[in-house]
Symmetry: C2
Subunit: 341 residues, 2 copies
Amino acid sequence: MRNDLILCGVGAMGQRIARLALARDYPIRAVVDRDPAKAGIALHELLDIPEPEQPVIITPDLNLALQGEKATVMHATGSFLTDVAPMLRDCLEKGHDVISIAEEMIYPMAADRKLASELDELARLHGARLLGTGVNPGFAMDVLLLALTVPCGQVGHLYARRCNDLSDFGATVLDSQGVGLTIQAFERAVAAGEVVGHVGFRQSICLMAAQLGWPVDRIEEHKVPIVTRVARSTPHVSVAPGEVAGCHHEAVAYCGDREVIRLEHPQQIRPELEGIETSDFARISGDQAIEMRISPEVGGGAGTAACAVNAIAYLPLARPGLVHLNELPLTAPRFAQSPLD
Amino acid sequence: MRNDLILCGVGAMGQRIARLALARDYPIRAVVDRDPAKAGIALHELLDIPEPEQPVIITPDLNLALQGEKATVMHATGSFLTDVAPMLRDCLEKGHDVISIAEEMIYPMAADRKLASELDELARLHGARLLGTGVNPGFAMDVLLLALTVPCGQVGHLYARRCNDLSDFGATVLDSQGVGLTIQAFERAVAAGEVVGHVGFRQSICLMAAQLGWPVDRIEEHKVPIVTRVARSTPHVSVAPGEVAGCHHEAVAYCGDREVIRLEHPQQIRPELEGIETSDFARISGDQAIEMRISPEVGGGAGTAACAVNAIAYLPLARPGLVHLNELPLTAPRFAQSPLD
């Protein structure tokens, strides 16, 4: 049954996916996680929820978890295509559909064309579908903008700015954005690849460009420190005035010399201390000028879990192979979002 | 060829559709309009554009226009299902796909279940597709809200408010909204069915409810006069303080006793004279609270023409029969919105 789920990865995001899938009554057949501390624990123990009739024990053994009839794998183990490809390959070879929240899976051709093509072929060969989804990339800076082009006769430029708050995150995320560094240390960390900023700009740009038929020739990315004027702190970090409270990461796409897409994503702790409201902003410029603002921004964590679980019902509508969000209806008719819950 | 177009109705909206379709290089095979003043005129004369190699003469004869291989009919002759059904029937019997901007065609089952079912069966029988589209209904108060539910795990209530400006419209539209009436005359005109307000609330509600699996039991509509405090005028009407500058029309949907959808659409002339900004506002209430504002609002005229022309490329992805917007991808991959135009 395609509605049977196999969870691959039950870290913070995988656990959100598990909770929502259970709330929607999807049967979870198996759970795999490579973390030795989770092996042998039951899923309900990890989630701290009542024991079900048939408890599922978390295993570190992927092949064991993938046994059985064709199901849908909910994949949440990493961001980068090269890191997650071996696991995806194993899933597809067993004929399982895969819904992944790996950022680069939104448009894997933009990360590694050869590897993405291999996965596409493997999926077709085994009658399986492979979809990447999430809030960003996957919604706030791409699919939502495409939705806004529906009433446009001609589009010349797309702009999006997502301003969010990192205050709830731990050391790993804060380090990846350079929070707490001096300006000089930030610049060095960017050069060394330690401050990665946002993962997925290339995916958002290539997804939109493919949908709009735009021949993007070049993408430029810049990472600039967000230097605070006031002291900002969270349970994990304290930042003094003049130090780095976050990373303003932007990507600009060109057709020839012409800028056609600009995406800006300032990520920082405690933005409200300098009067900054978090938001998703988008502007479509063409025969219509559409300016859209969502404030506060669409939640990244809850939203990504919802995108993944909502996809279970409508992914089977797609042909086997690598599937992109723009090729599917937004959601499945009659997906279970009862107003009476 | 499904890309060959037959235009049915070349009033103000049909002409917008014609211009955009020509800009996209869709071949227009035939044009039909029942207005005797247009019969015998060439389309390029009506549009005041250069003469093409093969001019198309506007005919009042529908059967003549529908001759030939299966094509796509762009239908823009009216709002109500019962009015447009005979023409749609003729198109479908010839096997033509139909894209209609009739408001009730967004979800015709909500207007007349028997008639909508007949059209569905007829379309299936002849291998044709029948789609209704437009900005409102069709986008601003339904599909756009559904897009905002993509990152939601649970949705409990939908709210939308579209505030627009009627100043550019002529007597027919202004009369349909009661502009220029006294409050007493407005109330009488509503009771007599002369002030119709917005056409399409039931369609927007039923489209969203179908997508979300919500069993809507009851829809209530109210039309309230927008009474101006200042003098407002357009080339077609002058309204004194204390008179009616427009119609605030709202619709509320219930599951049992619980309100689940509220749509408000205040339409008036010169809203800026009382400091009112036109906008599309939406709120999704559920596990996420998403508030979205587009200001000024998405253009109704240009937007509806674009929705219709954009659908040409992706309607063939649907199975034959009555098709709804929520069953299709948002747009076709690689639809022609070149940034280089």
